[in-house]
């Protein structure tokens, strides 16, 4: 008789944190069915979730450790591979080692890698792909509010009276949050959508504002000027809950940010700015949803500060239907950050440079020879620069579940950087473009094969439940890390038998997770952090009475608009912006191996405005050359009226036409996020020989 089980788990793709049931027949995952009980998605799914089972048992899953010998990978045993890693790692000084953790693996896996980096390798250099997406948010909101996370919950978005969506194509990138937008609209909310592209989300908006990528601070300052001029600001909120208002006001009231000037800078007609400002300022409950469009700029932190500014200005914080809702991309990027896989903090953003925090972790972990120095380490984008500009400084790289060979900016530069690494270990589920360059590859479990927790964008910590065994000899990520640590002589510090053991150790050191247990998290509602005690109900909405700074006040940061690092010129006359699409996830490791998703979108494209294409003589579907100062790719054109004239767009999922060959490694000076969203590009017809 067929053995059929339904295992409820959470989705491995985006940060919405949907649940579904994996159908397991005779021990193998064969399908996905709705879990209607989930408060987040109520059984509904986007196509990625609907087909989240398709890649799990792919024939090219990594099944054994691999060691590179004479330029080729040779299968090895776990003993051999971990012995080799330990032996090599012992030859490097702590400052020569860097670790990249994974926003796709569990909280337990991230905590384990953070402990390996700081306790075993004793390096200060640990980071992960949050650097590339929401490092602006973490830095920006931490300084504005004292806490760098989405302030409200997904459920309360539908209570909003006005939604301002800026830098997020919610329907495609967070589809089940897009549902809440639809529900808010049905409840009478006004939807304002700003994007250089008239996306599926834009098509549902009441007001669509098309603007030039990289003009966000001007737009937000301009909106704030209109709000203040009309007296729509929330004077009580400003007086009682914030500080530094006058400094910020002085900047936004400048003529630079008049509606007419902002129209020139951004391309948004003044009349639209006025309409948006009115809706935002007078709705009573405006929520802002934002994502990469705001963060991925050299002024990413300024953009985030400006979003925080306008919400404090109007008192749109701390209540249902309001908030600064930073939509985190990866399924567990929030968790990876919370677990301290960042060069500046331990778990819960406890600073590595704080002597009290350093002592707390050192004492708790009990490494006989101490842990890393209490200094900040390198961000991943800086690591790449150091590898090329200061050869010999960084020698070893330990990577878990990340694929910088496709996800980082300026891929030519990334390749040079990674090739300069003397010893590289990659722990992953498939042999990615990055793993190809490694000295040792370790086979890990995917989401369907593990118990553990992950934290969604609304700070909800939810369970992954094991549905099937991993293929071959693949192991859990934290298990692999514990094995490596043991080979290096630190078995005693990694004594865990189950993922629950890891979680329980972690929560004792992590105030915002302290009150969570596996039993409490087993409930469908799970828990939002902060949850400081085991009787605490969790915190769906932040900043209700006070902000998270010691004095409880939010801080206005004045921001002046600055243009992107690279703007169009005679040689490269168009703006290139990059992003995602509904069907694929990031470097495509999982989705391009899912037949249903691959069928919809088998390869990439470059979006060109219809008029621009006509001027260039380019037809829809034509293969063309796209070039920036960093490199060139051959890619198919998608000619559409839905993108702003002068702007072009490429999704970054496809190695054969990799958008990141073209993007600019220009970084925000504070958080080091690359400017994926704006650089200068030219396109040419391919000349037949």
């Amino acid at each position: 008789m067929t053995d059929l089980k339904y295992v409820t788990t959470t989705c491995p793709y985006c940060g919405t944190g949907c649940s579904f049931n994996l159908v397991v027949r005779d021990g193998k995952t064969v399908g996905v069915t709705p879990f209607t009980r989930s408060p987040v998605n109520e059984g509904k799914l986007c196509p990625k979730g609907m087909y989240a089972h398709e890649f799990v048992n792919s024939p090219d899953r990594l099944t054994t450790p691999l060691i590179k010998k004479d330029g080729k990978f040779v299968q090895a045993s776990w003993d051999e591979a971990t012995d080799y890693i330990a032996q090599k790692m012992k030859t490097f000084k702590p400052s020569e080692i860097a670790c990249l953790s994974s926003a796709r693996t569990s909280n337990e896996d991230n905590y384990a890698l953070m402990k390996l980096a700081r306790g075993v390798f004793k390096t200060t250099h640990i980071d992960h792909c949050a650097r590339l997406c929401h490092s602006s948010t973490v830095a920006g909101l931490a300084t504005s509010f004292g806490s760098g996370a989405m302030t409200n919950s997904i459920l309360d978005i539908e209570k909003s009276k006005c939604l301002f969506i800026l830098g997020s194509n919610t329907f495609e990138q967070h589809p089940l949050i897009g549902r809440r937008v639809t529900m808010a609209k049905k409840n009478g909310a006004k939807i304002i959508y700003a994007d250089p592209r008239f996306t599926p989300t834009g098509k549902q908006a009441d007001l669509y504002m098309q603007f030039r990528s990289g003009s966000d601070v001007a737009i937000l300052n301009g909106l704030m000027q209109i709000i203040i001029k009309n007296g729509w600001e929330n004077k009580d909120f400003i007086a009682n809950r914030t500080k530094e208002y006058e400094a910020m006001k002085a900047v936004v009231m400048k003529d630079t940010y008049s509606p007419e000037n902002v129209e020139k800078i951004s391309g948004i007609p003044a009349a639209q700015l006025k309409q948006a400002a009115e809706w935002i300022g007078t709705s009573g409950a405006t929520a802002i949803l934002y994502s990469m469009g705001i963060t991925q700029h050299t002024v990413g932190v300024d953009n985030v500060h400006s979003v925080a500014n306008i919400q404090m200005l109007c008192g749109n914080l701390g209540r249902p239907g309001t908030g600064v809702n930073a939509l985190r991309g990866q399924n567990n990027v929030q968790g990876a950050c919370d677990m301290g896989a960042l060069p500046v903090s331990f778990t819960a953003y406890q600073k590595v440079t704080d002597p009290a925090a350093h002592k707390k972790f050192e004492d708790a972990w009990g490494f006989p020879d101490g842990i890393c120095e209490p200094k900040n380490g390198y961000e991943v984008t800086v690591m790449m620069d150091v590898l090329t500009d200061k050869p010999g400084e960084l020698k070893a790289l330990y990577i878990m579940g990340e694929n910088p060979m496709l996800s980082d900016p300026d891929l030519t530069h990334v390749k040079h950087a990674l090739e300069a690494v003397e010893f590289m270990v990659v722990q992953d589920i498939f042999l990615t473009e990055t793993a190809e360059l490694a000295d040792v590859v370790l086979p890990a479990t995917c989401y369907a094969e593990r118990d553990g927790t992950q934290t969604s964008t609304e700070r909800r910590v939810q369970k992954w439940r094991k549905a099937q065994d991993p293929p071959g000899e693949a192991k859990l990520d934290w298990e692999i890390i514990a094995m490596v640590a043991a080979k290096m002589g630190y078995a005693a510090q990694f004594p865990w038998k189950t993922s629950e053991d890891v979680f329980n150790e972690m929560r004792m050191l992590t105030p915002s997770y302290r009150g969570m247990t596996y039993e409490r998290l087993d409930k469908p509602e799970a828990l939002h952090w902060p949850c400081p005690e085991e009787t605490h109900p969790g915190t769906p909405i932040l900043h209700g009475a006070k902000f998270s700074h010691p004095d409880g006040l939010g801080i206005f940061f004045p921001c002046e608009w600055k243009a992107p690092a690279e703007v169009p010129d005679a040689e490269y006359p168009f703006i290139l912006t990059t992003g995602r699409c509904l069907w694929h996830w990031h470097t495509g490791t999982m989705t391009r191996r899912s037949g249903s998703l691959d069928h919809e979108v088998p390869t990439g494209w470059i979006e060109i405005n219809t008029e621009d294409a006509a001027d260039l003589g380019i037809a829809d579907g034509e293969m063309i050359k796209a070039m920036t100062r960093r490199g060139e790719v051959v890619v198919g054109a998608r000619v559409t009226p839905d993108i702003m004239k002068g702007v072009m767009f490429m999704p970054f999922h496809f190695v054969e036409c990799a958008a990141n060959m073209l993007t600019n490694n220009a970084l925000d000076p504070v958080c080091k996020i690359p400017e994926f969203k704006a650089c200068a590009i030219k396109v040419e017809k391919i000349q037949e020989a």
Partner: protein, 414 residues
Amino acid sequence: MSAKGDMFYAWTNVSDIKGECGGAVTSILKYLLESKTVDAVLTVQKGADVFDAEPVVITDPADLVKSAGSLHCGTLLLPKLIKKYLNGAKDMKLAVTCKGCDAKAMYELAKRQQINLDNIVMIGLNCGGSVSPVLARKMITEKYGIDPNDVVKEEIDKGQFIVMTKDGQHKGIKIDELEEEGLGRRKNCQRCETKIPRQTDIVCGNWGVIGEKAGKATFVEICSDKGAMIFDGAVKAGVLATSAPEEKGLEIRDKIENVMIKMGKKNQETQFAAIGEGTDRLKYIMAETGRCIKCYGCIENCPICYCVECSTKKPHLVRPGQVPPDFMFQMIRFAHIADSCVNCGQCTDICPQNIPNSLFMHAQQVELEKMFGHKPGMDMELPVLAFAEEIDERARLNATGSDMIYENVFGEEK
């Protein structure tokens, strides 16, 4: 010896079965497993909590106790699961508990040779409708003023949705009142007319159980020869005790059924009217479906959809990767499904953009039923759009010597 049409009060003779109202269903399932009439029982049990129903395949009779009772938040549909994951019951014998929509879906899949109905014993269940779990919890918080986590049991009885808490509190609110405010049962349940699914083998419920057996017996109606054999077998094996139903009980059961059917028809009228007529209806459908993100949830969960090569995935019909997909995507669904839609509601439940797919499909189905007289889900009558071999069909039409296709196919003027 019982026969099709016979009705009984039945209750369990097995001491450790504490089923709903007499436990007859659980006892029959136990008998079916123990007598090896079936290899497994496919039914539903409590999942995360009382608001969550998960399907379960039971081979050990001792596990049946977990599936006893009713879960009004169990909105899932079982037949598609059988087709997708149990090889359509082609190489196993199953007993399956079926609400009306489950029963109808079984027949539609069987007609399309996706399920072997000979290998399935359908134990029908009276159903007044189900409530989506998250909405139920919202309803209980806001309308009942009770913490849903304190609820240990819920029920739909005498037109009320009733909850019972762990400290014995009981509260009921009229379904009509809830539904006027957009709460209550799923919209397709509100439209449903299949309250006592007699197309199953044995249909069970508690309507019509009055007198000293009230609350302690199940009302059983035999609906097929297979059902009769099974029922007699269960009685003979000593798991089931029976008595004749009270005359008044039969009346009450008929009355409840008719009231619910009437309510269903009325809700159809109201809900269909709200989406307009003719071009207005088309415009409304196009506007709503314009939010589609092509998740394929409607297709994956629809019991009528089964094609390996779905027309919606053919690039020349629907451009791949386009969001929203062209309206052609919806039209393919309407064209292929509408004649056979059983109003199971899965397509609405699953839609991430809250598009009322089931409402649109059901609205078309009732029109097609008026035109062609075909009622889906009742028996093995083939659908209106059954597959025809093109060459044979063209030859047949040519042989009529007429180019009037409608007449030739439907024989109006013959």
